[in-house]
């Protein structure tokens, strides 16, 4: 075993056994367990299907195709000749990819604790590993989907920009919100089984309440500035909009520009951090008793 000698000697000192918690033990074990669970899930999910992993890449493209055809060619909801609607395809696919990450991670997290009942009841390990592994796997898929988005965008004529360097910040914010919701939902589901259908509906609502199909200019034009401000309280809206601005085209405003000033961004940022903090707090509180309440 690679445990240093000093640590082994220290271990000989009697220590008190505490019950399960969200983050007990060393970070190395936390990380290796998280990776292992994510890998396992990945393998299990794609073993049986012929196209295997390709489905994960094709799914957002299919959804994109449907929306593209209906909303621009058939229904003419979006006038792609307007300013801000440049590169609508790339904007749309980008938002879909980000939304899919959020939906996959949070939707998968809901049942994750309950589905791993066997592990929770039989092994001592930091409980946070379970939702973390769900988010990690979704992040992996997000990475590959972003590559698909990149290829699509370059083909459809999006120019590489310096502002692409902002991508880690955008993804970072998205991961924070997602992880917060994942912790919250996975812990709550143990006590309230209604969470699952409720969350499915909320995900649908969020899909339409974020700049995926409809641009924020449309929101502002049709409902006014106040409505736009309310709309931008949704952290996903801010993140998606910033993505569309920084990654696709400056013709559409950045989140800060849409809200009038950069300072106004503090509000959604605070909401992101609050979701993460609340998610962690709820998960941490319930971690000790999850194993006996499954």
């Amino acid at each position: 075993m690679s445990v240093p000698v000093e640590a082994a000697v220290l271990d000989q000192q009697p220590h008190r056994v505490h019950g399960p918690s969200a983050l007990s033990g060393d970070l190395r074990r936390f990380w290796s367990l998280t990776v292992t669970l994510a890998r396992t899930e990945f393998k299990v999910r794609f073993y049986g299907s012929v196209l295997g992993y390709l489905w994960t890449l094709v799914r957002p493209l299919l959804l994109f195709g449907v929306i593209w055809v209906f909303f621009t060619q058939v229904g003419h909801v979006n006038d792609t000749t307007q300013p801000g609607m440049e590169q609508y395809g790339s904007q749309l696919l980008g938002s879909i990819v980000l939304m899919q990450f959020f939906a996959e991670a949070t939707g998968g997290a809901v049942r994750s604790m309950v589905d791993r009942e066997n592990m929770l009841r039989k092994i001592h390990f930091p409980r946070l590993v379970i939702p973390a592994s769900v988010v990690l796997l979704a992040m992996f898929n997000l990475g590959l989907n972003l590559i698909v988005w990149l290829i699509f965008s370059l083909i459809s004529g999006v120019e590489p920009m310096v502002s692409w360097l902002v991508l880690p910040v955008i993804v970072g914010g998205l991961v924070l919100v997602t992880a917060g919701m994942a912790m919250l939902l996975s812990a709550l589901f143990v006590w309230f089984r209604d969470i699952q259908p409720i969350w499915e509906v909320l995900l649908q609502i969020l899909f339409y309440a974020s700049p995926v199909i409809i641009s924020i200019q449309t929101v502002e034009k049709d409902f006014g500035t106040t409505a736009l401000h309310l709309y931008m309280l949704n952290p996903l809206a801010v993140i998606f909009q910033q993505f569309r601005h920084s990654m696709v085209t400056h013709a559409t405003p950045s989140a800060g520009q849409a809200l009038g000033s950069w300072a106004a961004l503090l509000e959604p940022m605070a909401i992101v951090l609050a979701i993460f903090a609340v998610g962690f707090a709820v998960f941490d509180r319930s971690a000790a008793r999850i194993a006996e309440n499954l």
Binding site: P20, T36, K43, V44, D194
Partner: protein, 421 residues
């Protein structure tokens, strides 16, 4: 559901062998002090949000299940310690508390050394993956790094004798193969303290022998092992000490043979009455003596199968009792109940007794039992169902029955008839 508590003093002192029951001199690897664990079982299994909203206060209704009550003991470094008890006696809960899977409600648990995080074999096995993947996953959960897990893989497969099936999905494995794989992975753990729950249930004889060898190896290496089992045979074979639990209470701790006997008694040694509470037996009605007699009224220590046997005991009454139920229970040395004789059987009456009276009770029966030693438990209960015991002394005296053995428990007189047709 509140499990009844029984005074420990009367039960612990009775059978524990003093040489082994005292806490060993070496530093404890595990110390458990006054640990209690209560589960709250809501009346409705799942409360939905709607129910919460409609009945905001209803969810406070819980059944309390005292799974473990005020248990204290110490396990020395290098000890092989068994925990036995019937289903629902709290032994697995206790193990999970030690492992840190459940938090305790009160008391404290101390550990010196690295603890294997596993308490059951094959946790985390995924039926849709191959043995190769599962061994690595399982080993990582055991606390090994990915590299270590990979490097030990060949060894694990060789031990499990599954070389040909490495790339077979686990769902195509037989249960025996699964257990072999799980055990082979689990013994790779580098911990100093192992907690094991119900292990040797499956696997063929040859593989079980291999497992035993591994247990002896771990024992030689000085690992501390705590293991929960129903298999008294392996408890007696491996354990230095053992502990018996019943209804969440530690009933007895000490020599594994004594514990195994007590366990058999719990399972198969049912008495007509429960032992009376300690305060009642102090100054009250008591069983003064118990003995066996032959047909001519002489006290005997052994008897042949052909002779009739009398189970006798004397009761001194300290209170007035109407129609008490006298009973004599004959059990084997393993604690299996063979005969229960009751004075109220078939409408029998016993009469009324005043304080200060004494009475001798005799039950006569044929000694048609297989040659062995048998133990007599006399008891006395108030009128009624017989559950309300006044006095009871377990295994107060014994008799040796000799004669021929056909291999069964009973040696009944046989009438054999063979008709050629």
């Amino acid at each position: 559901m509140v499990a009844f508590s029984r005074p420990l003093t009367t039960t612990i002192s009775r059978e524990s062998a003093p040489a082994t029951a005292s806490a060993p001199a070496a530093a404890p690897a595990i110390s458990v002090q006054g640990v209690s664990k209560t589960f709250r079982l809501p009346h409705q299994q799942y409360s939905t949000l709607k129910e919460r909203v409609l009945h905001p206060f209803r969810s406070t209704e819980y059944d309390e299940l005292n799974a473990v009550q005020d248990v204290s003991f110490e396990i020395a470094e290098g000890e092989f310690f068994g925990i036995v008890g019937r289903n629902g006696s709290g032994k697995s809960t206790l193990l999970k508390c030690i492992a840190g899977i459940y938090g305790v409600d009160s008391g404290r648990i101390g550990i010196a050394g690295r603890l294997s995080p596993f308490i059951e074999l094959g946790v985390g096995f995924n039926m849709d993956l191959t043995a190769r993947d599962n061994v690595v996953i399982n080993a990582i959960m055991l606390g090994l790094s990915r590299r270590e897990a990979r490097s030990r893989f060949e060894h694990v497969i060789a031990f499990a004798e599954l070389e040909q099936f490495v790339d077979l999905k686990l769902k195509n494995y037989s249960s025996g193969m699964l257990v072999r794989l799980a055990f082979a992975t689990a013994i790779q753990v580098d911990a100093e303290i192992l907690l094991i729950d119900e292990v040797l249930a499956v696997g063929d004889a040859a593989f079980q022998q291999k497992c035993f060898e591994q247990f002896f190896r771990l024992k030689r290496e000085g690992k501390t092992i705590v293991f929960v089992s129903h298999d008294m045979h392996s408890v007696e074979r491996f354990c230095n000490r053992a502990m018996l639990m019943e209804h969440g209470v530690m009933r007895q701790i000490g020599d594994p043979h004594a514990i195994a006997r007590a366990y058999h008694k719990l399972n198969f040694g049912k008495l007509p009455h429960d032992a009376p509470a300690a305060d009642a037996s102090g100054a009250g009605t008591a069983i003064a003596d118990a003995w066996f007699e032959n047909a001519s009224g002489e006290r005997i220590a052994e008897v042949s199968q052909e002779e009739p046997l009398r189970m006798c005991f004397e009761v001194r009454f300290a209170e007035d009792l109407e129609e008490p139920v006298f009973a004599a229970t004959l059990r084997t040395e393993l604690g299996h109940t063979i005969v229960v004789a009751r004075s109220d059987e078939r409408g029998g009456t016993s009469g009324s007794f005043r304080a200060g009276d004494s009475a001798v009770v005799r039950f006569e029966m044929p000694a048609w039992l297989t040659p062995s030693r048998y133990l007599l438990t006399p008891s006395l209960a108030r009128a009624g169902t017989g559950a309300d015991a006044v006095a009871l002394v377990e295994d107060m005296t014994s008799i040796v029955i000799h004669g021929s053995s056909s291999g069964g428990i009973l040696e009944l007189p046989l009438k054999t008839e063979i008709e050629r047709s």
